[in-house]
Symmetry: C3
Subunit: 359 residues, 3 copies
């Protein structure tokens, strides 16, 4: 596949700095790109690489255009990273379903698979499950009974969708993620069962489901627990990274981002456009407001208002946390300072006392 710079430019809504007859055959990093490749620059950390690039074209913002070396055409975009995403998608189109069910797929006779869907070998589609148009189900995927998978979904190898869970359209499941595992619900019972008396953790049936709305992506080995009753919901356009835990009855608002290894406890609701950075933990039964951003490794134990930025464990306002983090390494010194100050005050007290007596 190749595009002239003029065509590429137009397809990604960029404007180009120079003549645009040149052919571009792909996208590449600033470091590895040759004259027929289009690279991308936005992070000032990589300025050195930009100045030295041998790329034929570089997507940049208006402000950075002057930095692009003379050997490259600047493709100036209002949203450079978006323009790069579009350019890369031209050269790396999403996989397209090759309609058909592998003879080595185990599709239950009571399942409904759209004729345009592609079901690979080594998958299991349970009774009364439905697979929508143009959806691709890779090897080793398990879709359990009564699960519903929408149109244009991509289920990667080893993903599990448990019974009755619902996926919208254009949902991507990365490998080995789990949709609809039981929530962690146990009632501590001091008495136990007549045939087996004594304390036990009695299982609370996890009878609800997971509903994943359109355009969601779920990361590898991420677990979304089904609701105790009702639904755990992942809102439209939300993106969830690898190894994330979403507990029962959580609601994740549209366009939210949950970065790797973050976790949300039961019944907590996230508004629209919330960002949880890596390894964040959120306590149960809270509400995180629209557009709130939580810094990496933070622990959220209280409701978060709309638009707030929080950090730390327990999480506080991000600016306060920055000040705190700057002060923390001085704490040992501070303890010493206070001890010294205390001695000086004692001496002053004694001196003043002596002064008084001496009169």
């Amino acid at each position: 596949m190749e595009f002239s710079l003029a065509e590429l430019s137009s397809r990604i809504s960029a404007r180009h700095s120079a003549s645009a007859q040149q052919q571009i055959t792909g996208v590449a990093s600033l470091e590895s790109a040759g004259a027929d490749k289009c690279a991308f620059y936005a992070n000032p950390r990589y300025k050195k690489q930009l100045l030295a690039t041998r790329a034929g074209a570089v997507i940049v913002s208006e402000d950075d255009a002057a930095l692009v070396p003379a050997t490259a055409t600047a493709l100036i975009a209002a949203q450079p990273y978006v323009a790069f995403a579009k350019a890369s998608a031209l050269f790396h189109p999403a996989p397209v379903a090759v309609a058909g069910i592998s003879p080595h797929a185990l599709v239950h006779p009571d399942a409904t698979v759209d004729p345009t869907a592609q079901i690979f070998a080594g998958t299991v589609i349970g009774p009364h499950a439905t697979i929508g148009p143009r959806t691709i189900v890779r090897p080793g995927v398990q879709v359990l009974a009564f699960a519903q998978i929408g149109a244009d979904c991509l289920l990667h190898a080893g993903a599990v969708v448990r019974e009755r869970c619902i996926l919208g359209d254009r949902v991507t499941l990365q490998p080995n993620c789990v949709i609809g595992s039981d929530g962690f619900g146990f009632a501590f019972d001091l008495e136990g069962d007549p045939e087996n008396p004594g304390p036990m953790h009695r299982k609370v049936p996890q009878a609800g489901i997971v509903r994943i709305e359109d355009d969601v992506e779920i990361g590898a080995c991420t677990c979304i627990d089904r609701a105790t009753l009702g639904e755990t919901v992942i809102g439209r356009g939300a993106k969830i990274d690898n190894l994330v835990q979403v507990a029962h009855n959580v609601q994740v608002g549209p366009l939210s981002l949950l970065v790797a290894q973050s976790g949300v406890s039961g019944s907590t609701t996230l508004g629209a456009g919330v960002v949880l950075a890596g390894q964040v933990g959120v306590v149960g039964h809270l509400h995180i407001g629209d557009g709130a951003r939580i810094g990496a490794q933070s622990g959220v134990s209280r409701d978060v208002p709309d638009g707030a930025t929080m950090s730390g464990s327990p999480a506080i306002d991000h600016r306060d946390w920055l000040r705190l983090s700057a002060s923390l390494p001085r704490l040992a010194e501070l303890v010493r300072d206070v001890k010294r100050l205390s001695s000086r005050v004692s001496e002053l007290e004694a001196a003043l006392d002596a002064e008084r007596r001496s009169r």
Copy 2:
């Protein structure tokens, strides 16, 4: 399925506040329950929902009974959450094995599957593995050679039980969990092998097993490593949430709870009824006493006595940690205070000095 309030009440060991001829057809949340549903109240966060509920019955404690609206019958229970678990289980009974091996299951001829067990399509049962009575093995489960699975177990899709590991009775494995992965044991060898000299991490064979006792539940994508030698043990009635790491030779005591994304390092022993909240980390070779409770995101680096409650990283007594957490946001201010105080003391010293000289 439906029950009269009188029968439901008796089945869950509750007593009811009013006439009990009404039929109940299921359990539901306070918000979604209609007149034929039974809801549940215990967390004061949901008081508003209780007051507005249209449920036909609400399970509550004696103390909360007066809050139940007149339109609902209060089902008063000594352990309301336990009573709710029992009520929900009446309407959502656990799945029952439909005896038989799917023709699409790959069961090794040397495996022993109880005739009452149910083996789904797309499973692999290895040589000399045994599957107990009434156990259900869902699609995509891998039970490796010589593994032993007890009676009435439920192995969800994609769970892996590696060779020789042992599960007791009534064990539930959530999807894609791993029982018996190799422990992380490597000896740093400065010399390396004759044919490949130089430093290397030499693998220490992980020759032991995992033994899971009765009534344990293991969460989705949770990993329980086999012992280097001997056994990693998950004690009777313990419940482990999703994405938890249990390292080689760990012993988890009976009825312990390990919440999502917590991790326990090698050879550490947990007593009975220990609770690790979400994202807790415990260093290796420690002992956590019976009934100890560790707060979310804490890092435990020392033995914990019986009954202790610890928080923070490194973990300290929970009350001390509460005081610490309350003080922390004031740290930047404290630094300023000490600086100001220091100036005032300097001024005092100068003034006193001047005072003395002036005499």
Copy 3:
């Protein structure tokens, strides 16, 4: 299998303290070893167990040899843990491939499987994938299109290697790990698509691969994301524990160790011999120098120089962190001290003022 002490000793490069005719039939822990077993001692925590052991032989360092009870032969080694690893490997040799493809494996006709490899039932090997000599592919493994697996690898049940990823020789994948999941790359697009306008997270194609060098081990449910462009690389001899997240375009240097539940964000590079302890998080676009060691649960947000030891979140020099950790529990007290000190200074100021006025 059994060895005389003399032979065992020679095979593990140890020297023995006494006569060595005795036969050793295995390795065991200090506590469980009988007279025909070889145990191992290095951690002073287990001194009591050493003194009470009934083992026939104990591998120790020169310094600890005198502690070995008279009933046991001391096997003195320069690197005791390495000697133990070698001894254990004698009794627990790594599994050897039994050449052949199970009739229940789903191997694509365009895949290339070395005739000496062993492919178990219930695996899927995609088109144009290659499996090297003596490699073992356990049940439920998915090797996608064009993936290349080297020689003498061991792929445990449920592991997924996505399309085009490359594994070197002697690579071990623990169960349900994921090699080559999509990186978490989305460009926030305020405009959206013409047919679906409005803000969206536009997927950046993850068109690169993962390359795993020789002698690497990857833990259970660990996820290694493919590069956006180019390669995510796990260097020779690195060992990665369970539930670890390695993001797109990360480079892990040779012989590095990533302990369970740690995570490395995109484009960060780790030098040689880096150690990330459990639950560590590293921000993106950083460089962690050779031999750096990061303490458990730390959060690294800046470049780390070669050989540094860092702890805390945000991470600071480990010794500073030790001091900080020791001071932290005194913080509430410090706040009180400063308040008291402030009163004393106020009193002093008033007193001095009075003193002056009185003159």
